[in-house]
Amino acid sequence: MEKGRFGLGHAEERGYQVNHPAILETTEAFGESTSFADPERIVDLCRYLKDSEKFIRLSGVTAVDLHPAEPRFEVVYHLHSLERNQRIRLKCRLSGTNPEIDSLTGVWRGANWYEREVFDMFGIGFRNHPNLVRILMPVDWEGYPLRKDYPVHGYKYSYPSE
């Protein structure tokens, strides 16, 4: 591997805005750009961003529960381009009833664990995920801890003798 193959970008390349038909709306705050994307076309969008726009790193996937608002969930992707030295945030709004979105594991293999974590904590399903099982909580856990309607002291354990 030759040195400096992924050179760091220059400052003038910052302030990049995603230009793709799947983008619904883009906002800018604190020097960070946030784009809302169509959940149905997230894989196309991310493949375009990775292959053509050089966002080779998926820094993380997480979600926000806006309970009781509808659409209830926001899936948040943080993308990073080493070449542009640029980070962008993509968001997809999902409904509270049967929240599902396509998995990005086909674009970045690293999405695997992040999506499992979101599934584990929020109960959001990822279609075409190779191994969608709980990652942090025990496999037989009931409920999704980071949902807003999940109580903080929510664990009720019945002992076998009772």
Binding site: G4, E32, G110, I135, Y150
Partner: protein
Amino acid sequence: MKHSFEDHTSTIQAVQEIPATPAAPRRMTLNMGPQHPSTHGVLRIVLELEGETIISAAPDIGFLHTGIEKEFEQKNWQQGVTLTDRVDYLANLSNNLVYSLAVEKLLQIEIPPRAQWTRVMMAELSRLNSHLVWLGTHALDIGAMTMFFYCFREREDILRIFEMFSGQRMMTSYIRIGGLALEPPRGWQQAVGKFIRAFPSKVDEYEELLNANPIWMQRTKGVGFISLEDMLDLGVTGPMLRGAGLNWDIRKSEPYSSYEKFDFNVPVETSNDVWSRYRVRLQEMRESAKIIIQALEGMPDGPWQADAPHVVLPDREKMKTQMEALIYHFKIVTEGFRVPAGEAYQCVEAPRGEIGYYVVSDGTSKPYRVHMRTPSFGNLQGLPKMLENTMIADSIAALGSMDFVLGDTDR
């Protein structure tokens, strides 16, 4: 729900049945961990073995999950700092720093230079602390026991400095939203100066013990290879990437907390094995020492907290004599300060790689959502690829070179 002993053990199959056809190779599934000294915490790896060769490795995490992200939503913003200490317990100050920076971004408050420089100094001391624990335990795993005593000797000095600054050796919570927890104590220059001026000679000692050590070289050179493309795809960050020839350090590429004012190099090695990661981290220790000396010598004067009375607790004397200060004190202590609605992502270069905090506020005095993108979680994802088709004895060296902290992985 009823649980019996069989229920808990039925998923783990220790030895697979011997295949019926004699020609088929005999495979064995081996559980490494969760209680294994070289996993540095409670990590379970299910290894599929063919003889001594690892066919596949599946890390099983979550044993240290403590629900910190959920707990954030119950605490007010300032109390959240104490939780960040517990995420990565070897680099507490890096976590304090990134959380504070993210919330300060939402609050739009400016931190005075003295606080920024002190933050840099503390974050670098915390990097030294983390790298020393890594070197000591990693070398111990591979068989160089003396290293452990050498490294923990210096680590003790760092912990004493932390105690001097914050009153705590490990869970410091020293970097707070709006500045620092306390003014740097009297005489800190002597304490830090004495330690850091002697430190490069200590790194020489480590290198003397290891650099030309034939056992160390045999156990590390050419071991634990994983290609740069794979690492970037899988979310690996930090010294792992720099050991593979990628010159990327967030302190340089996206400077925060006035890192741009410090003169230091980013060490890069190209051989992409356990040895190169060892070389990168040792050189990083020297660079951190350089940064700390610059901070020590050029420490600006001035306030150590931001001029933001609605966020920062007032001076004790003022609180007792001025009505306005008393009101602010009462409001901050009882309710906590409010943070304007919005969201921010902040990342820093922690000893293990990129820590990123994604903070969402709904305008109240408690965080709506805090997500931690921790380096150990991303790095561990590269483990199956790294262990594939290697010898089982090398897996210990490869694991150690990754330098993960399970508290950081499971949160």
